[in-house]
């Protein structure tokens, strides 16, 4: 029981990260109907920004500011940085292609992904860096429910992910930009005719989507995983899988899909095999696409091919 509980907690934390990545895919898909291949690499850049902010604030062990402040600054800078990166990517790689064939933005996105990965390789070298969280937050800090230990980093990541998702759904539902975004997702031409500034909404969409990926990158770093130039590839695919499970374009779907995927992955790793866990995720993706191609929350079929 304790083992199962532990796996569930780990799965939910992981799922929170996947959900944040999946949201970026879904938001962009909802507005532009393109898959942003470079999303996983935006996540990588977010993790790097978090790392360099940490170093700038005195590194893992000699922090100049209190630890919560440092973590807050890491998140803030990383989210703003990746958000701006998202806007830049949209402006230069996707906007010129808005009227071209369906395949062109995909190839352009592939190019951006290669560019980001190799620019990171050139600038930061191939060394794997770590945030070394345990040197400023002891891994024993935390609490336990029964026999399930929840260390404080994991707890913070989980809470923060939930908080970001909550803010996002409020933003999409209550603000003007959010309403415009939903309007574009339903019918782009009609939205333009109603006087919605489509470029502005798309900019916001990319900013928010990329910022969430940046936050996910920092979370990944805090959970003691390595930060390197190729780190975004697999989480990018997982985020896409989560978005498809939930129904691409659907915001609650992306959240639920992410959490579900995290739990499934954690359980397969815990009970079946660690080597093949990505394989099981792939099988899950295939199964969802065969059995329920619109996902758990998706309503209408995607007709554009």
């Amino acid at each position: 029981m304790g083992y199962l509980g532990q796996q569930l907690v780990n799965g939910l934390t992981l799922g929170g990260i996947y959900a944040l990545i999946a949201l970026g895919y879904s938001l962009v898909y909802g507005v532009l109907q393109i898959l942003n291949f470079a999303h996983g690499d935006v996540y990588m850049v977010g993790a790097f920004i978090g790392y360099f902010v940490e170093i700038a604030l005195g590194g893992p062990s000699h922090t100049k500011v209190p630890v919560p402040v440092m973590i807050f600054i890491m998140f803030a800078v990383s989210m703003i940085g990746t958000g701006l990166l998202g806007i830049v990517i949209e402006r230069f790689a996707y906007r010129p292609l808005r009227k071209s064939s369906r395949i062109a933005p995909l190839i352009s996105a592939l190019g951006v992904s290669i560019l980001l990965q190799n620019a990171a390789l050139l600038l930061f070298s191939a060394n794997i860096r770590t945030y070394d969280t345990s040197s400023f937050i002891p891994s024993t800090a935390g609490f336990s429910i029964g026999s399930v230990n929840i260390d404080s980093v994991r707890f913070a990541v989980l809470i923060l992910a939930m908080l970001l998702m909550f803010t996002l759904s409020k933003w999409v539902n209550k603000t003007q930009v959010g309403r415009a975004m939903r309007a574009i997702a339903v019918d782009r031409d009609a939205a333009v005719m109603m006087g919605i500034d489509i470029d502005r909404v798309i900019r916001w969409t990319f900013f928010v989507g990329a910022a969430l990926a940046g936050a996910a990158g920092v979370m990944n770093g805090l959970l003691l995983r390595g930060v390197s130039n190729g780190m975004g590839f697999i989480p990018g695919l997982k985020g896409f899988t989560a978005a498809v499970i939930g129904g691409i374009g659907s915001i609650p779907g992306a959240m639920a899909g992410g959490l579900l995927l995290g739990v499934v992955e954690s359980l397969t790793q815990g009970y079946l095999s660690t080597n093949f866990s990505d394989f099981y995720t792939f099988i899950l993706l295939i199964a969802v696409m065969l059995l329920r191609p619109n996902g758990l929350f998706g309503k209408k079929a995607i007709v554009k091919a």
């Binding site: 291949f37 230069f92 292609l97 064939s101 352009s108 190019g111 560019l115 190799n118 590839f233 696409m289």
Partner: protein, 483 residues
Amino acid sequence: MSEDTSKLGIGTDEWVAQHEKRLQRRSGALGIVDLLNQRVSNKVRYSALGVAAIVFGLFVHNLYLLRIASNLGVFLMMTLGINIVMGFAGLLDLGFVAFYGFGAYAYALTSSSQLNQHWPTYLSVPAIVIATAFLGYLVSLPSRRLFGDYLAIVTLFFGQIFIQLVLSSDSITFPGHTDSTDITGGSNGIPGLDPFKLFGRAFKSTSDYYWLLLIVITLLLIAVVRVNRTRVGRAWRTVREDPLASQSMGIKVNNLKTLAFVVGAAIAGLAGAIFAGIQSAVFINGFDIPLLTLIYAAVILGGSGSIPGSIIGAFVMSVLPEILRVQNYSEFLFLAVLVITIGVIGKNWKKLAINIVSLIAIGYFVKALFSLSHMTTTPTKTWAIAPVSKALQYWLVLPANRIVWGNMAFIALVALVAYYSIAHEKIKPWLLPIIAYIAIFVWEDRLVADASTTRQLIIGAMLVVMMIVRPQGFLGKTRVEVL
């Protein structure tokens, strides 16, 4: 293929009617390419190519050159395959390299001591092709209803899964057994494969494989050219241009897409098997993303949907890296490309001259700034002596801390190029020499030392730029846009 598009009358409207005129209007270097492209017929080109390949095979016995030629052959097979999947049917298959890897591993498993299977080649190779085609069919199944974006990312995932499965299949414990079996050799790969045995002889040398590849590619080319003219080929192009319209015309869109995908997978499988035979060993790291991007870059550069385009693209992307291994060549080529780019952008010789003069002036200016501020630079040559390097040495700044300066300049370069694309027409001429200078600076200080990263950076940038500037590639023709 492109000239019969208008003959068939698909989408003949004003845009198509003015096609030739628009091509001739293009000036500068691209204009020359277009002009050459129009003058010679395809038959002449293919025959010339064939004769050149035969002459090469007869008279060249240098093992290194034969190796390069065979690698080019395998690469060419793959670009032709991708050309069917992406160029004809308009599908983005990012798991293509996995099918290639599957073919290679399938050959390795059926012709080595790994599983103690030594199948005769005339049995194993057809079996591999069929098996790869079937695998392709399976992979295409889930995205059948949603061909398009989904297929791209599902196949990308598939490629990654293939790698992971191969890597972790070196110790599989089957149910009912206690000991583990090594199937794929994991990261050690599978060495010591049997050579091909065809036409009553064992393939001992690379030159045997060269001739085999020549035959296979010739047959493949004939098949591709002919299929392209048939009902299926026309239907593929229709589906690519407008799936919805073709569906309403009674074309079975999904079946055709599946067919293209499966044919592509089968070609990749065959290429993989031949590659495994040439190498007589398989290792998983050859079947990863870098190869995939290289193939796509080749097809897109040449012109997706154009067969001559894929051939030229394959030449450029497969042989060029070999030439660029020699640093002096790459240096020279980089400068040549830079000058041509400035020429194409500037459109006339006068502007080109002005740009180059100001480029040289900027170089001396920056050098003066550096020496006035007493920055430490490495004055003497650190590269091999070549005329280009020697001339550059008196002009270019090479700071002592090259990595830091190079990285900063790299960031500045990316920002400036991006800004250039949206800058006002009046500012652009002023930016151009500055960008050119920083490009040379970054190249000499940073990129030259990091060849593989540089190659990937160039490919990535090329994919984005090509999609924006010339999505049809250098030899493709402008498509009729569906609005």
